[in-house]
C-alpha cells in the first residue's frame, strides 16, 4: 500500500509540471501586458518598458518558464505583480476559507445527498422518490450565483437570520456551503439512488434477507456500503468541480478565498498568483483523488487485496 501511495505521488510530478507549462503558456501567450495593466491608462511607453525590464518580462518565454519552475521547486513562488506580496503568503491566507467552504460543501452534499438518494431508491416510484428527483433536477439547473443570491435575500434580508457577507464566524459559512453543496448534492442523490437500486437487486441482498435481516439492517450493513463505492469516486472527482464552484460562491458571498484571488489575478494577468493558485488547486485535486482511491481500496476489500499481494 505504501509503495502504491509513493508511486502515485511520484506520478503527480509530471502531471503538475504539465499543468504548470499549460497554464504558464496560456497566461503568457494570451494578449495583454501585465505591466500596462499595472500602470493603467496614461503611462508613458518609457515607463512601461522600464518596468518590464525590471520584472524580467523581456526574456524569452522558455527562459521565464524555466526560471519560474526553478524557483518554484525551492518553494519560492514569487511576488504578486499586483500586490507585491509573497504569493505563498497570499495563498496561505486564502486557503483556509476555500478549504472550509469546500469541506462543508462536500459534507452537506454528502450528508443530505446520500440519505435522500437511499430513501429515494428504497421508496422507488413513490412520491418521496419523485420529489427528491425533482428537487435534484432543480438544484443542478440552478446557477450557483442565483441560488446564492436567493438565499441571501431570504435568510439575510427578509428573515435576518444569517450574515450575507464575510467569513468571521461559522454562520457566515452556512449559506455559501449550502449553495456549493446544491449542485453536487443533485449528482450524489442521483448517483446514490441508481447504484442503490442496482445493489438492492443483487443476490447477496437476497441472501441477507434470507438470513432474516431487517430492512434497515439490509440497507445500512449490506446495501449502503456497496452502493457508496462508486459514489465515493464521484465525490472525489467532484472535489475539483467544487473548487471551481467555490470561485463563483466566494464572489457572491464576498469571501476571501482562492477563487476570488484567482479571478482578480487572471484579470490583471498576475502570472505568479494565477500559476500558484492553479498549481495549488491541481495539487489539492490530485491529493484528494489519491485519498479517495486509498479510501476506496480501504472500503473495498477486492482492491485492498490487490495492493497487499504486491
Amino acid at each position: 500500500m505504501l509503495r502504491y501511495i509513493a508511486k502515485r505521488i511520484l506520478m503527480m510530478i509530471p502531471v503538475i509540471l504539465g499543468i504548470s507549462l499549460i497554464v504558464f503558456s496560456i497566461i503568457e501567450l494570451s494578449p495583454g501586458d501585465p505591466v500596462s495593466l499595472m500602470l493603467g491608462d496614461g503611462a508613458s511607453a518609457q515607463a512601461v518598458a522600464e518596468l518590464r525590464e525590471q520584472m524580467g518580462l523581456n526574456d524569452n518565454f522558455f527562459v521565464r518558464y524555466a526560471r519560474y519552475i526553478g524557483h518554484a521547486v525551492t518553494g519560492d513562488f514569487g511576488i504578486s505583480y499586483r500586490n507585491k506580496v509573497q504569493v505563498v503568503n497570499e495563498i496561505a491566507s486564502r486557503f483556509p476559507t476555500t478549504l472550509t467552504l469546500t469541506f462543508w460543501g462536500v459534507a452537506i452534499s454528502v450528508l443530505i445527498g446520500i440519505p435522500v438518494g437511499v430513501i429515494s431508491a428504497i421508496r422507488q416510484y413513490t412520491f418521496i422518490d419523485a420529489a427528491s428527483l425533482f428537487s435534484a433536477l432543480i438544484l443542478t439547473s440552478m446557477p450557483a450565483f442565483w441560488l446564492g443570491l436567493l438565499l441571501i435575500l431570504l435568510f439575510s434580508l427578509k428573515l435576518g437570520l444569517l450574515p450575507a457577507t464575510g467569513v468571521a464566524t461559522m454562520q457566515h459559512f452556512l449559506m455559501p456551503s449550502v449553495t456549493l453543496a446544491a449542485a453536487s448534492m443533485a449528482t450524489i442523490i442521483r448517483m446514490t439512488r441508481s447504484t442503490m437500486l442496482e445493489v438492492i437487486r443483487q443476490d447477496y441482498i437476497r441472501t441477507a434477507k434470507a438470513k432474516g435481516a431487517s430492512a434497515f439492517r439490509i440497507v445500512y450493513k449490506h446495501a449502503l456500503r456497496n452502493a457508496l463505492l462508486p459514489v465515493v469516486t464521484v465525490i472525489g472527482l467532484n472535489f475539483g468541480t467544487q473548487l471551481g464552484g467555490a470561485i463563483v460562491i466566494e464572489s457572491v458571498f464576498a469571501m476571501p478565498g482562492i477563487g476570488t484571488l484567482m479571478v482578480a489575478a487572471v484579470r490583471t494577468k498576475d502570472t505568479p498568483i494565477v500559476m500558484a493558485a492553479v498549481l495549488f488547486v491541481a495539487l489539492l485535486a490530485s491529493i484528494t483523488n489519491l485519498i479517495v482511491d486509498v479510501l476506496y481500496a480501504y472500503i473495498d476489500p477486492r482492491l485492498k487485496s490487490q495492493f497487499v499481494k504486491k
Binding site: 437476497r206 441472501t207 441477507a208 438470513k211 432474516g212 435481516a213 450493513k221 449490506h222 477486492r302 487485496s305
Partner: protein, 339 residues
C-alpha cells in the same frame, strides 16, 4: 418418522408488472416431512424458484404476490405471518441456498462476518465468543479451515463460496433448507463434492430439504421423493423409486428422461422436449402440457387431469384415468418417505 413439516395447499403466485401478469405457480400442492428431501425438478421457468421464494415469503416486493392458498410450517401459516415473525423464521427455521454462489455473498464483508450475522440475528442467547466458536465449527463442518473466516468472498473459489453459503444456511440448524439449484453454477467435480457434503450434513443434522434442480442425476443421488413441475403445476410426484423405476409416467416426465428412463444410465441433463412451455401470461385450460403432448386427447384440452396411480406415486394425466381416486388431486400425503 413421517411427521409433517411443511404443507403447501393450492398455492397460486403471480408476478404483476405494468405490462403483464405472469401466472408463475398455479394451485400447487406439496407436503414435506421432517428430515425428508424432496426433489423439485422442472425446466427453467416452471416456477421452482417462485415456489421456494413463496415459502421464504421473499417474493419481489412490488411484483410478486401469493393470490391463493396457504403454506404452513408446523403451526405457522407463512402466507399470513407478520413480517417480524417471518424474520425470525428466515435463516433460523428455514434457510435458503441460492443458485449462484458467485453473487450470493456480500463482497465487502468477510465470510466470517457473514456467517456470524445469522447467529447475531437469531442466537441472542450466544455470547460473542460462542458465536465465534460456532462460526469456526460450522466452517470446519462444511470443509473449510476456520482461519479463513477473515477472508473476503473474492478470495474463495466458486465451490468454496457455495460451502460458505451452505454454512450460513446451516448455522442455526434450521428444520428446512430450500436449496435452489445449489450446484448448477459449479463445474462437475465440484458439483459432486458439494452434493456429497449436503447429503452428509443433512443426514447428520436431520434437516428436511427442498432440493430444486433440473439435473436428474442429482435427484437420484440425494432425494427421497421427487416432484416434477411443469408450468407452475406439479404433474408427477412419487418416491425416487417411483420416478426412476416405475412403469407409468406422465408424458412430460417420459420426455424428460428421453427414451431410457433407467436410473443407472440416467441422462444427466433434462432432455429437450419439442415445443415451448405455454405462455405464463395467458393461462391455458385443460392439461398444460397438451400442446406439446404426443398423446394428447380431446379431453386434455378442456379438463384438468388429476390422478393417483398408487399410494406413493401420483401423475396428473388423463392417460391414467380410471385409476384409483379419479377425481382426487395428486396425492400429496404420499409417504414414500425414508429410504
Amino acid at each position: 418418522m413421517t411427521e409433517k413439516l411443511l404443507e403447501i395447499k393450492d398455492l397460486s403466485v403471480i408476478y404483476k408488472t405494468d405490462e403483464e401478469t405472469v401466472y408463475a405457480v398455479n394451485d400447487l400442492n406439496l407436503t414435506l416431512n421432517k428430515g425428508e428431501t424432496l426433489g423439485l425438478v422442472g425446466e427453467t421457468g416452471a416456477g421452482k424458484t417462485t415456489t421456494a421464494l413463496s415459502i421464504m415469503r421473499l417474493l419481489p416486493d412490488r411484483t410478486g404476490r401469493i393470490t391463493r392458498g396457504c403454506i404452513t410450517l408446523g403451526d405457522l401459516d407463512i402466507t399470513r405471518a407478520s413480517e417480524a415473525d417471518m424474520r425470525l423464521i428466515r435463516g433460523n427455521g428455514i434457510s435458503m441456498v441460492f443458485q449462484d454462489p458467485m453473487t450470493s455473498l456480500n463482497p465487502i464483508l468477510t465470510v466470517g462476518e457473514q456467517i456470524a450475522e445469522v447467529l447475531q440475528l437469531h442466537r441472542l442467547d450466544m455470547s460473542p465468543e460462542q458465536k465465534e466458536k460456532r462460526v469456526d465449527e460450522i466452517l470446519e463442518m462444511v470443509g473449510l479451515p476456520a482461519d479463513r473466516k477473515h477472508e473476503y468472498p473474492h478470495q474463495f473459489s466458486g465451490g468454496m463460496k457455495q460451502r460458505v453459503v451452505i454454512a450460513i444456511a446451516l448455522a442455526c440448524e434450521p428444520q428446512l433448507i430450500l436449496a435452489d439449484e445449489p450446484t448448477t453454477a459449479l463445474d462437475v467435480t465440484i458439483q459432486a463434492q458439494i452434493l456429497k457434503l449436503m447429503k452428509e450434513l443433512k443426514q447428520r443434522l436431520n434437516t428436511a430439504m427442498l432440493f430444486i434442480t433440473h439435473d436428474l442425476g442429482v435427484v437420484a443421488q440425494i432425494c427421497d421423493r421427487v416432484a416434477i413441475m411443469y408450468a407452475g403445476e406439479i404433474i408427477e410426484i412419487g418416491t425416487t423409486d417411483n420416478i426412476f423405476e416405475g412403469k407409468k409416467h406422465h408424458p412430460y416426465t417420459v420426455g424428460l428422461f428421453g427414451s431410457i428412463p433407467d436410473m443407472t444410465k440416467a441422462t444427466r441433463r433434462l432432455n429437450p422436449i419439442e415445443g415451448l412451455m405455454p405462455d405464463p401470461t395467458a393461462p391455458l385450460g385443460g392439461c398444460k402440457f397438451h400442446p406439446r403432448c404426443p398423446q394428447c386427447m380431446e379431453i386434455c384440452k378442456t379438463a384438468k387431469p388429476l390422478n393417483i396411480i398408487d399410494g406413493t406415486h401420483a401423475i396428473g394425466c388423463h392417460l391414467f384415468a380410471g385409476g384409483a381416486g379419479h377425481d382426487a388431486r395428486i396425492n400429496l400425503e404420499s409417504t414414500g418417505g425414508a429410504e
